[in-house]
Amino acid sequence: MDTPRIDSARIAETATGLDRADIERREKVFAISGLAVSYNGVTALADVELDVYRNTVTAFIGPSGCGKSTFIRCFNRMNDLIPGAKVSGTVLYHGADLYARQVDPVEVRRRIGMVFQKPNPFPKSIYDNIAFGPRVLGMKGSMDERVENALSQAALWDEVKGRLKDSALGLSGGQQQRLCIARALAVEPDVILMDEPASALDPISTTRIEDLMHELKRRYTIVIVTHNMQQAARVADMTAFFSVIVDDEGAARRGILVEYDATAKIFTAPSDKRTEDYVTGRFG
């Protein structure tokens, strides 16, 4: 009889979370330096240096107005769509400048998919919601297979396989959010960005999304913004804490990156007093 194979590294990871050194040995998917974002000349976020590693979940936490949503939108050039927004500094994606002139933002958003706070399915059938992206991009292969694959990966297939032609709007909020994740997966991305993906969901649906993140990170790199600190503690391998600084007159506020480290470190013994105050609920 074969001896059962014990994956001790996996057990250690499950028990204690990934070690920072282990994470930093992985390929850098994003390398960000000197990043600043302004809206109509007013700085919203400044001086961000941070790397995102392959097959990890990276969470951004911080109080309202700290720039974490602004920051995640830099990862797939969503800020390009906001009038008056200006991004400076460097965002390297697998070593290439994401903001170089020849880079096509549509291709960027195919590789780097995004899921938003409020589920936003198209007013179409479940099937067509998934098939829309691949069709627009002219992707080859069986569409049925692609739809089933995407829905299976998003842990939704078993719930909807008998009603693929029904409107997506008839799904529950949690199912709609998983549909949006499936829609992002259907175009074979490399990275999935999630901006508060569970904040509009009930606790059971939230747990399903969190379980899904643990599954999906084996194939994808995930970046998530969350207001829920316990969610970051539960799902993320690395966590970045952003805070707000206010100028002397109290007029201008801008976001800064305070601390970026392994999630276990951030939630047990953070290095910066401001992080400590935030995660323990003494500030923010």
Binding site: T268, A269, V279, T280
Partner: protein, 226 residues
């Protein structure tokens, strides 16, 4: 500011210090019973352990509730974990006092030897002092004070060795030897109390620094066992 969490942490900390006060009374009782060879006092020390256990269980329950309801993190989490850890150390110290009282009672019909009794009382006083220091250092988050426990523990260990050597001299006197063997066990109990106090000190350092490190590594102690 999480007012409710802070109130619960304060209550936990007060509960822990109360358990400490009770355990100090146990130690005091065990030392006095030894010094006076008072069998009745031994019984009181043994019965008093129920109070220590009750305090420990109450604290354990409180810790469970704080973790379940407040999900503390960072320094708050370290404090809760340290209190759970230390409450158990205190409970163990209470158990050692019971064993010392039982041994004193068991050997009360045998003749005592002043040198050994004095040595044990001296150990007990040092242990009592160590527990006090560990509790104060914890309350003050005084890492230097907590680290000082290691030096105090060496003195307890030395006293333990002295008791052992003294009893070795009784080898040709069966009654004295029987008595002495029981005293060696009592000395061992005091020695464990000293270790528990050092462990409590290590938790103070853990709370403050975020890193757990033993002040000494007993498993690599180069000194021979006696």
């Amino acid at each position: 500011m999480r007012i409710e969490l802070q109130a619960e942490l304060d209550a936990l900390e007060a509960g822990f210090q109360e358990e400490g006060e009770i355990v100090l009374r146990s130690i005091r009782g065990a030392i006095d019973a030894l010094r006076t060879q008072d069998v009745e006092l031994c019984d009181e020390v043994i019965a008093f352990d129920d109070e220590v256990d009750e305090r420990y269980l109450a604290l354990e329950k409180q810790v469970e509730l704080v973790l379940a309801r407040q999900t503390p993190v960072a320094s708050d989490l370290r404090l809760v974990l340290a209190i759970l850890h230390n409450a158990l150390h205190l409970e163990r110290i209470g158990d050692q006092c019971v064993t010392i009282a039982k041994l004193t009672k068991l050997s009360s019909h045998l003749g005592t030897h002043a040198a050994v009794v004095e040595g044990l009382v001296d150990m007990g006083e040092r242990c009592s002092e160590m527990v006090k220091v560990s509790l104060t250092a914890f309350a003050d988050r005084d890492v230097a004070g907590a680290r000082g426990l290691h030096q105090l523990d060496e003195l307890v260990d030395n006293a333990n060795r002295q008791v052992f050597r003294e009893v070795l001299g009784y080898v040709h006197d069966p009654e004295a030897l029987e008595w002495g063997m029981r005293q060696i066990t009592a000395a061992r109990c005091f020695e464990r109390i000293g270790d528990n106090a050092v462990d409590i000190g290590e938790q103070t350092a853990f709370i403050v620094t975020g890193e757990f490190a033993e002040f000494t590594d007993a498993s690599h102690d180069p000194r021979p066992l006696e």
